[in-house]
Amino acid sequence: VTRVLALLAVMLLAFPALAVEPGEMLKDPALEARARDIGQALRCVVCQNQSIDDSAAEVARDMRRAVRERLAAGDSNDQVFDYMVARYGDYVLLKPPFKLGTLVLWLGAPLLLLLASSAIMLAVLRRRATAPLPPLSDEERERLRTLLGRDGSAVAPSEAQRSRGVSSGPGKVSPLGPSALGRDDA
């Protein structure tokens, strides 16, 4: 049982496999950590959607080496990114930069959400603002009384809700109060 538990623990603790080989790593752990940060954010140019750290492709390995060589030469992270973008374009960045060409990418979804929610909001407001229903005719009043019983004070859906087909909430309302229409659900 302990063996199974140990195996489970190992499986839970396992890191996703990286393609970075021990031989490529920098001696300086701080520089190597920066190289990893950069490598995770750079896209392998021959794989559809893998970072260069995740890819076993030859070019990805060359790019990892280039990243480390630049870091060792004293480049900042941004300088390394600039070096790669100058050669491979924005394609090489897994996270696209915020600029005119990518505006739709960044703002499209939030904008659509805003548009949809405001459209729904507008529709709801408009529905609420519709004029109150005309008062009941004598015939309807009579039918209502028979439906509700003699005293006319039973718990029942409001006319407003009933006439719209909205399910009733709990509450005691007078069935004969059309003046309250359109307000009881506010």
Binding site: V45, V46, V59, D62, R65, A66, A86, R87, Y88, G89
Partner: protein
Amino acid sequence: MSRRLLFLLPLATLALMAGFFAWSLMAGRDPAAIGSAMVGRPAPKLDLRALRDGDKPLTDTLLRSGKPVIVNFFASWCTPCLAEHPLFMRLAQREGAVIIGVAWKNKPEEARAWLARLGDPFLHAGLDLDGRTGIDWGLSGVPETYLVDGNGIVRFHFRGPVTETEVRDTILPFLRDGKS
């Protein structure tokens, strides 16, 4: 009335998407295409040992000779390189184009044997065994071809084998007009 029109919205969305997908298929849009960031910039450094025995090493001066040059990265193990090879032979022999070949991740003796077998279109040939120069040039694989003008500015960058059409429509006009 306007509410009725609202029901057309899903249909319109569908039509829009169908149109986009149809266009993608017809126009040959390739979402995997990297494009090139090199075009319009000065060519990166060229500092390579010669592929052929007795040749001088390749340096930047080759790219700033005042004459347009073609830089072709190739390898003997690369099949598309085989496909484009006759076009470079023709450009070298008939048009007198200056073509710089770079054997990329290729054992020099294998690259030399490949050129000996098929013909050697390269005025200068260098060796990029470890792929360092390739990264510096924004290479994603072989074959890739750069057209560099007389001032050392990259004017075109082909990822993948050059085709007959590209020779006719791009390379030949570049060689003609790029001469200064």
